[in-house]
Amino acid sequence: MQNIKTIAVIGASDKRNLSVLNELAARYQLLLFDKNINEVNKIQQSLLTENRYASIEIMPCATNASWEADMIILSGFCINDDTVVKTIKEVATAKIIVIMENDDEFTKSINHQVSFDLLFPHSRIIEVININTDDQAEKEFLLEGHDSYALDTVSSIFEGIGFNTYVSQIN
């Protein structure tokens, strides 16, 4: 039996990541945070409908969610939100931060030349890019990052929940 890991999902109301959260909820304890309370409530209900016995909790604060977590997922509006980044930075030291980049955020990040490695200098950043947005097709993700341990960990989590991954280690 393995100790159940806790994952904080910051910006949890982004519906594009619902299929990923659905699979994660079956195996991990999820702590959801989003400024939009109504939307995050809907996401929680939707996840609980699919995973009746899962541990899925809405957290009132991004810092506490990230502090309690073993791994942090940043998604939706939070990716480009300075306030959120500042509030979780201190408690994200040495942790894996997964940046869920969908089309919009990916473009914005490039446009703003956001370097997550500079924003979180003491964390292990993995950018996850959904490369197959067709809902009917099998999900495939490109994982990019510098840290080989973090790449292996995130890849095994995504593969473990049934997704295909392609790993790209940046030097």
Partner: protein, 201 residues
């Protein structure tokens, strides 16, 4: 309020290191970057028996216990760890073997976790941290010897008095059956010992 908590996240660790070695402010800032801050709720586990112990945990706030479970399902408490203490299954952590202990939070706790690789990196970058770790291991070995001696030579009452004088908080914060297990007594025997002590007073 949250900023206050964040500012005190490394307070006990700094105190623990400074009690044993000299470390500059810059060195401590570097040291902080190797630790994973982690909150654990009451009754949540950090390690399950059979898993490999991946963290050496420093307790900033709260109490943890490590225990082993026998074939009958009885739990035997091996260690309590309070604020300013370290806890892990050392053999599993250092050798990568399967753990024989479970580590669980007795209270909501705040921890600073160090992986094996992070510990090695930190010791090579900061020799003063290696000295600190050596002193900790020495102290742990002395405490272990003292515990074995007490188990062989002390009465139930002596063991209880020694524990409560070293850690006066323990009675208020740790359930009695866990204290009994740690001392190698049944809860009934511990209750009798406590009664005898209070009657004498």
């Amino acid at each position: 309020m949250l900023n206050y908590y964040l500012a005190s996240m490394y307070e006990q660790l700094e105190k623990s290191i400074r009690e044993k070695v000299k470390i500059s402010a810059e060195e401590f800032e570097l040291c902080k970057t190797f630790f994973i801050p982690k909150k654990l709720r009451k009754k949540q586990t950090l390690l399950l028996e059979g898993d490999v112990c991946t963290y050496n945990a420093f307790i900033e706030k709260g109490i943890l216990r490590s225990y082993a479970t026998d074939e009958k399902g009885n739990e035997h408490v091996i260690q309590f760890a309070f604020e300013g203490w370290w806890i892990s299954d050392l053999a599993s952590f250092l050798q990568g073997s399967n753990s024989t202990h479970t580590i669980e939070a007795i209270e909501d706790s705040e921890l600073l976790l160090l992986t094996y690789t992070a510990r090695e990196d930190l010791m090579s970058k900061l020799p003063v941290f290696e000295t600190y770790q050596r002193i900790l291991l020495q102290n742990a070995f002395i405490a272990f010897q003292s515990r074995v001696n007490a188990a062989l030579n002390s009465s139930a009452e002596e063991k209880y008095l020694k524990l409560t004088s070293a850690y006066p908080d323990i009675i208020a914060r740790v359930p009695q059956h866990m204290i009994a297990s740690f001392l190698g007594l049944t809860p009934e025997t511990l209750s009798r010992v406590r009664k005898q002590i209070s009657l004498r007073r």
